[in-house]
Point group: none
Chain length 401, copies 2
């Protein structure tokens, strides 16, 4: 259930248009030398100018102190309580390489590994063999056939792959095969609940056949499976909010997350300029656009403060382009903070701004962590972002008589 589904009666269809720009890993922390965060350091005149005429605030993705992964970070922005709707690791990995994942499918992460003659683990990651070695093995494993199920193996990168099971009566409620230590054997998959026995039997048979196929490989003669997961079943955003929502994202994982939320994913190019072209070309076809900007998060995760500053500066000139389309509501948000000094996702509240014809003159002077924290929106859960946008777009009637 969507977190705000109890407001279902308030959502109303109008012709107004909304844009939710998600700058991945938007928030940051002060550089120790300057005392200024990435946003405070960056030269972002368009974002600052927009903040001045927007309603500003900060969002908490999950709970104070909780650093989210990309899955919960985005689901929250789409309005789904990320504590209730969890996307398992295998499913997210599949979405990340654009594996077609349907309701009922089970996906799991796979690692190639090395075992000795007695089957004891020598290297859990098979010396991180490069994709050129692992991809052909994936192709061979992909040909394994087991009655009652369709099995597909997809190469991810290096020693990693995704196994997808498709068929009737599958379940994610099975244990993993990775014993987490070397010197031990890969574990058998066990059903956590009786209805998962079919899945457990299929996976065990797959592992057995795979081990035979790989027995002669020198660097990777076995595999480990973990993070069995099915897609969560979410009410579609379009249906709940009475929108015709579209997603534009250069990276597969975010297209996947948009699909989970029931958005229409529009094919686009490899970077944000291409995404902007897609937005312009499809402006008349939808009333809600989720558009995703990835580079700031990647720089933050690399721990590269200056690169993150540059990525924010590179986003800035696109703001007038979006405004030129005339959205009734433009929201700039982040799925979580990624402070370069932590080189990781963090729990820190994320700057947020919402521009509409109702928000003139209530803004803050600059678009950054400190300024937004003092904005008129205050501190809100990320799950409230959609409702804020819908309200400002005139797409919500009042709650209660």
């Amino acid at each position: 259930m969507i977190d705000v589904e109890e407001l279902r009666d308030c959502y109303t269809k109008t012709s107004t248009k909304m844009v939710l720009l998600v700058a991945d890993g938007l928030g940051g922390l002060a550089h120790p030398d300057t005392g200024k965060s990435e946003l405070e350091t960056a030269n972002i005149p368009n974002l600052d100018a927009l903040a001045q005429k927007s309603a500003c605030g900060v969002t908490t993705p999950v709970l104070p102190g909780v650093a989210p992964g990309s899955g919960p970070g985005h689901l929250a922005l789409f309005g789904y309580d990320p504590l209730k709707h969890q996307i398992g690791r295998g499913a997210l990995e599949a979405l990340g390489i654009e594996v077609d994942l349907q309701p009922g499918d089970v996906a799991t992460r796979g690692n190639f590994c090395l075992v000795d003659s007695e089957g004891l683990l020598v290297d859990r990651r098979a010396d991180r063999i490069p994709t050129e070695f692992s991809a052909p093995i994936c192709e061979r494993l992909d040909r394994i056939q087991i009655p009652g199920v369709q099995l597909d193996v997809f190469s991810v990168q290096d020693y990693r792959f995704v196994l997808r099971l498709r068929g009737e009566g599958l379940s994610e409620l099975v244990t993993e095969t990775d014993p987490q230590v070397t010197g031990a054997k890969a574990l058998e998959v066990k059903a956590i609940k009786p209805e998962a026995q079919k899945t457990a039997d299929i996976v065990n048979e797959f592992v057995k056949q795979a081990a035979q196929l790989m027995a002669e490989e020198e660097r990777a003669n076995m595999l480990l499976l973990r993070g069995f997961a099915q897609l969560p079943s979410l009410p579609a955003m379009g249906e709940v909010y009475r929108l015709d929502p579209a997603a534009i994202a250069a990276y597969p994982m975010y297209r996947g997350l948009a699909t989970v939320a029931g958005m229409n994913v529009i094919p686009t190019g490899k970077n944000f300029a291409a995404e902007m072209d897609t937005l312009r070309a499809n402006w008349d076809k939808h009333d809600f656009f989720f558009i995703h900007y990835k580079p700031a998060d990647a720089a933050g995760e690399d721990g590269d403060f200056d690169a993150k500053v540059r990525c924010l500066e590179e986003l800035d000139p696109f703001i007038p382009d979006i405004l030129e389309l005339g959205p009734d509501v433009l929201m700039v948000a982040g799925d979580h903070s990624t402070p370069a000094i932590m080189a990781a996702h963090s729990w820190h509240p994320v700057p947020f701004m919402l521009h509409s014809k109702l928000t003139k003159g209530e803004g803050v002077p600059t678009f950054d962590e400190r300024a937004c924290a003092l904005g008129s929106i205050g501190s809100i859960p990320a799950t409230s972002v959609m409702v804020m946008g819908l309200s400002h777009a005139g797409k919500m009637t009042k709650f209660g008589p």
Copy 2:
């Protein structure tokens, strides 16, 4: 269940150390003559300096507008939803005088009272007889024996005592004997649910025998019982958070609350200086310390603004002593506000600061209600304090893939 128990997979064991300093009744309100609160009035250079290099915010103990007792105020800081986990009055009274209370025991508050020859209440508090009169009566009542249960009576103060029932199959679900008005008889205890019938029968028999034993007393010839309560069953902090938590508190009630949360209670002395000695002596033995400072709350409850200011000033010099131990995270929090002008616990948000190597440069100029409200943490539920601390101590992995 702990409020944040669904984050269980995120907690991770590390060698970092955390200190949670709870200044009881920390928050206050402005003095009508000066417009400044106790914290704003106090000369607290060490707390102010710490605020400047900490992340600051305010905590809401239960809900906006709700003034908590000591029980919910502390349980919230330990991460337990105080609305879900309630400690009954009898159990808290028992903890407050350090009665050993085990799961299954039932404790209740007792009042000595005076009845006339027909058993009608003349004085519900027995003229508030001093402890020197009531303690010997408690000793006599303590000798009452009833088959199937162990009964113990503990003197509290003046006309108040605690009755503890220990044995199989006891229940807190019984009615009270206090009719709340004079001129009425003490009520019989009744079982609220059938499984409490044994407890009701035992208590009624106890009251009957006690009345006979006290019949000749001139000032206190009867007793009233209310607030029957068992300890709530909480998941232990150590197990949930993967910590080895210790509690240092000069006052029994806070040691009791720490025990309820599964902390190791370290014996200590009668004041905060003794608590600090205990902290130093045990620094190597635990990775989480709850240390409790009582005087500010006591002064606030007395309605003595100047005394509360002094108590805050007396806490201040200990801050460098704590920092000298090198905690990875130091949090200064309060279980609730106790504004001297109200002479009572209040609902006002409580100043909070968290210092770690990640919080340089994001602080506020002073440690008080107004400044902290503008800090980077913003306004958070008190139940998020532990998660905030764990995150900053590197003891939490991200939530979700």
